[in-house]
């Protein structure tokens, strides 16, 4: 069963203050079985850039992504890698325009100082052609890799327009997890929430419960996702799920208003609600302290 924890509760439970967060609440103790390759490191999560969007919710839609790239490049300590958790581009029915947007997006993020960049599709990138164009630019949407003692898994829940992971990918996930120790540090990247956050707003994955069931035996799993255009933290059992802010427009808190319409742009506070996060992986710790950054410094 999923339970929501608000920001204050989360900070209290995790023992952090200010803008720094930690995940892996049940796994705050040091881990056993550490390999010699483990080291502290940072990664940065950016999400929902929606390149190609235009409209009143963001009058600077053609410039926000570049500002985010500049903001990441200006971080005093550069991350080991950067991950984009989907909706790189805004959807279009035109396949040529979709590829144009994907290409422009790739060029813009090519300006990042860090060259180890991981991508994932969102439904806006992949659901109208089952991920065909996305794959041409960024390769397979499902993959796993290891980095300094952490096992990372990217799950695609958008190439199916019905928001299913699908049996084939679930078998792949089960196989990949089968190679991991039960106390391995595992981070899952996905676009949609794997749990039913707000089904009436399509904030769910149709067969996400199956993925969570596969993850449950592992004691130190953390999920980072996008889709809902806001910071959000929720537990399913011992697994924390952290949603990231968007880089185009914020959406309302789940259930806070009848419809999930974008929050209006406020000229007095431009870029409010937009941003990215830096995540720290500390040797021997299951938790992942997070620091949220705005697109533009106040």
């Amino acid at each position: 069963m999923a339970r929501t924890i608000d920001r204050r509760d989360f900070l209290k439970l995790a023992g952090f203050g200010g803008a720094v967060f930690a995940s892996g609440l049940s796994g705050c103790a040091s881990l056993g079985g550490m390999g010699s390759e483990q080291e502290d490191f940072f990664f940065v999560q950016l999400s929902d850039t929606h390149w190609g969007f235009s409209g009143p919710p963001n009058p600077d839609a053609r410039g926000t992504l570049q500002k985010a790239v500049a903001a990441v490049n200006s971080l005093e300590q550069q991350p080991d890698f950067i991950v984009f958790t989907g909706d790189l581009t805004h959807t279009t029915d035109n396949p040529a325009e979709r590829r144009k947007r994907l290409g422009e997006f790739r060029d813009i993020v090519g300006e990042l100082r860090v060259k180890h960049v991981r991508f994932m599709p969102g439904e806006h990138d992949a659901s109208l052609d089952k991920g065909q164009a996305y794959r041409e630019f960024f390769g397979a949407p499902t993959y796993a890799f290891d980095h300094k003692g952490v096992h990372f898994i990217a799950i695609d829940n958008v190439s199916d327009p019905g928001a299913s992971i699908g049996e084939e990918q679930l078998r792949w996930l089960a196989d990949d997890l089968g190679k991991q120790a039960r106390d391995a540090r595992i981070v899952v990247f996905t676009h949609r929430p794997l749990f039913d956050l707000m089904p009436d707003w399509d904030w769910a994955t149709r067969d996400g419960a199956k993925a969570i069931e596969l993850l449950m035996p592992y004691r130190n799993v953390t999920v980072f996702y996008g889709h809902i255009h806001q910071e959000h933290h929720q537990m399913t059992g011992h697994i924390p799920h952290h949603a990231a802010k968007s880089l185009i427009f914020p959406l309302p808190a789940p259930g806070s208003q009848p419809k999930r319409a974008p929050l209006a742009w406020n000229p007095a506070e431009p870029y409010k609600g937009l941003g990215f996060r830096r995540v720290k992986a500390e040797t021997g710790e299951a938790r992942f302290p997070m620091t949220e950054f705005p697109v533009i410094k106040a």
Binding site: H90, T91, T92, D93, E123, S127, L128, V158, P161, G162, A163, D196, P199, D200, W201, D202, R206, K259, R260
Partner: protein, 128 residues
């Protein structure tokens, strides 16, 4: 079998087949529907109608047609979902068992505007 008994038997069989999703449009018409049918068409990015009123405990058949693309119909509050396939009539039998407003939406991503493709089923008390 007497004529009246045969009609009742056919109606019972027809309802059973309909509930099991085994009856096509022609067969359904032949059995004289006893349940209200609400026809809903879909196209990018709307349901027509998008506001539907039902009565608590009254069985209805929601009859969907898609005019352009594959769509989905989901109401988490009512616990139902269907794919709506172009060129095919899709039926969903529904017996709402509680009063209230229940949102429904397209849960098959269909393009720019998909997020606004939704509607509301209002269930009112019997006799209201």
């Amino acid at each position: 079998m007497r004529a009246g008994g045969r009609r009742r038997w056919l109606a019972r069989v027809g309802k059973g087949l309909l509930a099991a999703g085994l009856l096509g449009a022609g067969g359904y018409a032949a059995t004289q529907p006893v349940e209200r049918v609400i026809r809903i068409s879909t196209r990018k990015f709307e349901f027509t109608p998008s506001e539907i009123t039902l009565t608590k405990n009254e069985p209805v058949i929601l009859e969907f047609t898609a005019t352009d693309d594959l769509m989905g119909f989901k109401s988490a509050g009512l616990g139902v979902r269907m794919d709506i396939v172009p060129g095919k009539v899709t039926r969903l039998r529904l017996v709402p068992d509680r009063v209230g407003k229940f949102m429904f939406y397209c849960d098959v991503f269909c393009g720019d505007g998909h997020e606004e493709m939704d509607g509301t089923i209002t269930v009112v008390e019997t006799g209201a």
